[in-house]
């Protein structure tokens, strides 16, 4: 078949062109993932787990916050239901990334399965906000961003584990890195909400941050009632109940693309689909960008 070689070169050229376009955008993620991955590997090894387990978790779970939580889970009593619920809960934000990427990941062929599987905060932020140059294959561009990001994370975790086996310094307090990560994401969300609320002149401490406040208050209440070992599931249930009961009131305080129960047909036409997602995406994109400085 005389056509084959030329076809191959063309496909190869398309792939490498997409890689060239994708790589620069992943450099901030490279810095962030390698740093956090190394910390994860260090924590795993200092908690007594083998090196290969860090690599495996980085590869197959591939969501930083859950992997850090998994360290604590693996050190406590066996509770598969709680593990599943925690994974669903921590991953719930992926659902909203998915909703935002529905259109962009359309018509990219079989790569779509990998693109969905490799969804993370940072990969979403890059792929969602990327201005893909004309002539660059969209599917391959998204694919390279996703693959490079996963490689950074996995390599970081492995390097951290290997170094961790030789580390002799006191690692007490290292697990606090997880708390700082959640705190940064929380503060970033808080600032994004403040900005969005100010833009439409409805800023108020309580009403602009009602979801953050409901999250913290419900968790503290459940922690007081159920104790430190069993409060996660009740907390999530309480958060869902509170957010659902007060939906019409809370939705009215949401800035810009307000999602009101009555607007059923109108909102369905909304191009953004997810209401606040663009603002959140911008925040995450900035988060990823800032990582490089």
């Amino acid at each position: 078949m005389p056509q084959n070689p030329s076809l191959k070169t063309r496909t190869g050229g398309r792939r490498s062109a997409a890689l060239k376009a994708a790589f620069p955008l992943t450099i901030p993620v490279l810095a962030g993932y390698v740093f956090t991955g190394i910390t994860y590997g260090l924590l795993m090894v200092s908690s007594g787990f083998p090196i290969w387990l860090s690599t495996l978790n980085a590869l197959i779970i591939y969501t930083g916050s859950l992997e850090f939580l998994l360290v604590a889970m693996l050190l406590s009593a066996f509770n598969p239901v709680s593990a599943l619920v925690t994974a669903l809960m921590v991953g719930s934000r992926h659902i909203f990334y998915g909703i935002s990427m529905l259109g962009r990941y359309r018509n990219v062929g079989r790569k779509k399965f990998y693109l969905i599987y490799a969804t993370t905060d940072e990969t979403f932020a890059v792929n969602y906000s990327a201005q893909i140059p004309a002539g660059i294959d969209r599917g391959w561009f998204y694919f390279w961003v996703s693959l490079l990001d996963q490689a950074y994370w996995t390599v970081g975790a492995t390097v951290g584990s290997v170094c961790g086996s030789f580390v002799t310094f006191d690692t007490r307090g290292l697990d606090f890195v997880l708390t700082t990560m959640f705190m940064v994401i929380f503060v970033n969300q808080w600032l994004v909400d403040s900005d969005a609320a100010r833009k439409v002149n409805i800023y108020g401490f309580l009403r602009s941050h009602i979801s953050e406040i409901v999250g913290v208050a419900s968790s503290l209440a459940c922690l007081a009632i159920f104790g430190p070992d069993d409060f996660i599931v009740p907390s999530l249930v309480l958060i869902l109940i509170v957010l659902t009961i007060f939906r019409s009131r809370i939705a009215a305080t949401l800035p810009s693309h307000v999602v009101r129960p009555a607007d059923e047909t109108h909102v369905a036409d909304d191009e953004d689909g997810t209401g606040r997602a663009p603002a959140a995406a911008q925040g995450t994109a900035e988060l990823a960008k800032e990582g490089s400085r």
């Binding site: 066996f78 719930s92 529905l102």
Partner: protein, 112 residues
């Protein structure tokens, strides 16, 4: 280690299943051009920030406010994380500053 290798394998598998489910769910539900229900859109707006609030509380669940050191190292470190983030808007700087400061505090100043 309190778990057997099999139990650890099951726990990890649960994490994989849960995570993969959240990643694929929207693509399974909203195949084609079906509109997204407003309730789902609403949850998309409000659930994320709430969950991160819960995760912070989860990380601090074993801090005892009524006994030495009264959660002081955690409070100081998280304050520094917030201030540096508002100031620099750089995730890595804030995480590094908060973690290193916390490690120094619990290893030198607030030793049990």
């Amino acid at each position: 280690m309190t778990m057997t290798p099999l139990q650890m394998g099951i726990t990890i598998a649960m994490c994989v299943i849960g995570t993969v489910a959240t990643r694929f769910l929207p693509y399974v539900i909203f195949r084609g051009n079906k509109p997204i229900p407003t309730y789902v859109q609403y949850l998309g707006n409000v659930l994320g920030p709430a969950v991160f609030g819960l995760l912070i509380v989860y990380c601090l669940r074993n801090v005892n406010l009524f006994a030495w050191p009264y959660g002081i190292p955690e409070a100081i470190a998280l304050f520094v994380v917030s201030i540096t983030y508002v100031w620099k808007r750089n995730m890595m700087i804030s995480m590094a500053a908060g973690t290193v400061l916390y490690m120094v505090l619990v290893q030198t100043v607030f030793t049990a």
